[in-house]
Every structure is written in C-alpha cells, then in structure tokens.
C-alpha cells in the first residue's frame, strides 16, 4: 500500500511538472509576426514587439543554458564572470562559516541558559528583542565595524543563525526528563560527565531541530546579503544577471538556490536522525 502510494505520488508529481512546463513553454512562445512594421524599427524593438515573443525564456531555453552552465561550472574569467559552482561554493562557504560560528557560540551558551533558570529569565528580554530583527538590518553596522563586505555577510549569517540555535538548545537542555537526571544523580554523576553523557544526548534532537531551522534561515538570508555586498556568491550572481537582463540565468539561479537549500535541510535531517533516539 505504501509503495503504491509512493508510486502514485511520484506519478502525480511528474504529471504536474509536465503540465507546468508545457504551459510555460506555450505562454512564452511567439504568436507569429506582427503585421506591417518598418524593418529598421522592428530590429530596434526586438522580438518582444515584432513577433509577440516574450522576453521571459521558456523551459527549453532554460534547459539549454543549464547544460552550458553545468558543463563548465568552475571557470573563472574575472570578477564578473565565474562558473556557477564557484558562485554557489562562495555562498555555501559563507553560510557554513557563519552557521559554524553560531553553533560554537550558541550551543554552550544555550546549555548554560538551559541549566540556570536565573540566566534564562535574565536573558529572556534581550533574546526577545534581538530575535525579530531582520538580519539584513545589521548589515550597515557590520560593514562599519568589520570593514569587509565578505566578513560582514558571514556576520549576518551568524546573527540570523544564532537565535533558533540558542532558543532550542536552552529549551532542550532545560527540559531533559527528570528521571534521567535522577538516574545520573543516584550514580553521583556530575559536571562534565553529566553534561556530555546525559544532558547533551538527551537534548540532541531539540538542538538538531534548532540547527535545521537555523541553516534554512541562513540560506534564505545569504542570497539577500550577497546582493548587498556583491563580489561573489549566488546572491551576487542573481543581481549581476538581472543587471545583464539575463532572465534565463536568474531563473537557473533560483532553481539552484532551491536545490541546495533542500540538500542542506536533508543533510541536517539525516544527521538529526542519527543523533536522535527513539523512546
């Protein structure tokens, strides 16, 4: 039954994709020549006006361009012309650096907040105020203090990753089952051993959920951040291709951003399943 449900869902997905692609192709294809126009004027106006062809590329064009881009993803022809994999690589690097820094800071800090009701209450107002701030609002401050656009982007990733991590770690650590703590206490387990053998493993699923939320937000934010700071990255690529009026490349970038985001989410989900435990 399950396999037949999977098969039917897959079939429906494929059908929906096909319908969408066909509708897209039909919508952007031309409707024949526009009647009686001065050829010179027509050449000036381009196909959009003369043949009714949309400037929006169709799926076939996208496919052709995607093959070209993926055939040589690592080329580097100067600052404004780099392979798509290089651009994605820069974005991933910034996300992983910012996210990694956030993990290093937020997990230990969240651990102490979770263990201490005093700390939790004292820090609550700060977290509540800082959490809803759009990470991009930090950008000018980051540029002013760090004075490096690439590092500022990493800082913005750090600041947007830290809140879900902090909140989930504190919650996970604070809600470890009393019976597990009691077992450890009757065994006179304290300090570092209590933290690493009991509290952290017990809180691991909640912490991993925080990481999954964080990396999702980080991947959302990096595109916008790179549009602002420029230079390299998939966000910069989108903006650059918009300035080049290359809608094809913009659409391809959108597609790749979605695929990489999904891969990051699946990866953390997989790690989470391995660190988690069933009860």
């Amino acid at each position: 039954m399950q396999s037949s449900l999977n098969a039917r869902a897959g079939l429906l997905s494929a059908a929906l994709l096909a319908v969408f692609l066909i509708a897209w192709q039909v919508a952007v294809s031309g409707h024949g020549a526009t009647a009686k126009m001065d050829p010179e004027y027509a050449a000036l106006m381009g196909k959009t006006a003369t043949q009714g062809t949309s400037a929006m590329p169709g799926p076939v064009q996208i496919g052709e361009r995607l093959v070209t881009l993926l055939r040589d993803p690592f080329y580097d022809h100067g600052p404004n012309d780099k392979g798509i994999a290089i651009q994605l690589g820069w974005s991933l690097l910034r996300v992983l650096l910012g996210f990694g820094l956030a993990v290093i800071v937020a997990v230990p800090l969240g651990f102490f907040i979770g263990m201490s009701p005093l700390l939790r209450q004292a820090l609550e107002p700060f977290i509540q105020i800082l959490k809803p701030i759009s990470p991009l609002a930090w950008m000018p401050l980051a540029l002013y203090t760090i004075r490096d656009s690439s590092q500022s982007a990493i800082f913005v990733i750090f600041i947007c990753s830290i809140w879900p991590l902090l909140i989930n770690t504190a919650f996970g650590v604070g809600s470890v089952r009393r019976e597990w703590l009691n077992v450890a206490r009757t065994l006179e387990v304290t300090g570092w051993r209590m933290a690493t053998r009991v509290v952290l493993p017990a809180a691991a699923p909640t912490i991993m959920t925080g990481m999954r939320i964080s990396i999702g937000i980080a991947w959302l934010v990096i595109v916008a951040a790179e549009m602002l700071v420029g230079g390299t990255g998939i966000g910069y690529f989108v903006w650059n291709q918009w300035n080049n009026l290359s809608i094809t490349d913009v659409i391809i970038a959108i597609l790749l951003i979605g695929l990489v985001g999904m891969a990051l989410d699946q990866l953390l989900g997989w790690i989470g399943r391995h660190l988690g435990y069933a009860e």
Binding site: T186, L187, A202, E279
Partner: protein, 292 residues
Amino acid sequence: MSPNPSHHDRPQISVQALCKRFPGADRPTFNDVWFDIYPGEFVCLIGHSGCGKTTMLNILAGLDRASAGAVIVDGKEVVGPSLDRAVIFQSHALLPWMTVLGNIAFAVRSKWPDWSREKVEEHCRRYIELVHLAGAEGKRPVQLSGGMKQRVGIARALAIQPQILLMDEPFSALDALTRGSLQDEVVAISAASRQTTFMITHDIDEAVLLADRIVLMTAGPDARVAEVVENTLPRDRTRQSLHRLPGYYAVRNHLLDFLVERPRALPSDPRHPPTLRIGDAPDASSPVRIRA
C-alpha cells in the same frame, strides 16, 4: 523457618520523624514518620496513593529533601544521592540513547572510574546474565519489552553492588505474567545476596512474597506509620507455593483490610508503631500483638 534478621543489630537505615510538606500545601503529606530497616532485611512499604510513598523513597535515595526529620544510613545523615544506595525506578528510567550494555556500563563506570574497558564489560555481562538478558546487550531500550527494560533497571542497580537497594513500585507498570516472573527473580537474587532492600508497592501479594517486614502507612495528608507487620511465613516461600502456606490468608486479609478500611487513626506513639506478627498459628484470625 530461617531466622529473621536480628533486631538487636544497629539499624542500617533509620527514618526519624520524617516530614514532607510541599510548597503551597497547608498540611504535610506525611509527618512524624519513624521506622528502621536492619542489615539484610527486605522491607516493603504499603500505603494509599497520596501518602507520599515515592517522595519518601526519593528522600531515602537523597533525590528529594525532607521538610523535617532525618534519614540516617549507617550512622550518617542522608544529604544527597550516593552510589551506596541504588534506586530501581518505577519507570525503569533507562537512557534511550544507550544500549543495554551502555546503560549498565554507565553505572559501573560511575562506581569504578579506574576500571579498564574489558573489566567494565565483563562485570556488566555478569549482571546481564543474572537478569537473563544475555543476547540483548546491544539492543536499545526502545527495542525491549516493558519487562526486559525493568530487568535492565534491576541489573543496573545491582551492578554497582550497593549497600542498599531502593525500589519504587518497580513492577507496577508490568502485566501480571511479567510481574510474576520478575518477582521470582527478585526472590532468587534477594535470597542469594541478602541485600538490604526497601521497596514501595501497592501490591499486597508482592509484599507478602518479598518482604520480611511490611510498613503500613495511613492515608495522607498527615500520613504516618500505622503499624509494622512482621512476615512470619517461611523464608523459602515462592510465588507458586505462597497461597498454600498456613497463615498466608491471615496476613493477606490483614493487609487488605487495612487498605480497604483506610484507617486514619494514628498510633498513640508515632515513634513506636505497633509491630504485629500474624499467621504464626495456622488458623490465626486475630493478630498477635507482640510489641506496642
């Protein structure tokens, strides 16, 4: 009949004027509770729900603090948990991210941090065999049945070779058959080790089977020890033969009446609740009071 532990010894556990009042409650859950447990004795505590049985066990374990009074173990007041007092929890409380072996090894390493990996594992395997779980060492708690989980809990508690074993209704969450087979094993282990054991239960048959003495609590709030029943049935009793022993029904009926009637009458001297010996004579219908 094998001799009961001599009460001329110094008690190993001495509960003195113990009182627990929860914040916000106007009356204490239990108050002025006194009883002693002697070395090698198996003592069961029976009482209605709400008389603070689990709280009392937690205070004995050092996991909870009394509002007044003290628990003295081997001449020292209990101020916190200790590896000398192992607890078997009602909910088995295994750590779900560790295997069976891992759960027991965690306890063993806590007691003997200097032991080599091989020594710890060998020690753990001995206790896994003791509770008949050989072959399940690598399983995680989620893969075990309720009875097997509680066996791991028992093995974990015994593996640290404690002075005192504290059990909080360890079999109450199990079905009757599983409970029976685990009781048999506790009988066997207890007979072999003469481990000082304090167990909370609301199962009368369990208490009669396992306990040398049964402490009866009045209903809470303000619960106290109403009386202590000495189990005069032969030590080598088993679950299968228990109900054929002369005197069994006298003890059982006495306990049942106590629970059904929910007595609130307090003993005149909470420090020395009456001790009863029931069932010495095969047709004993009225309890014989030996100490008041």
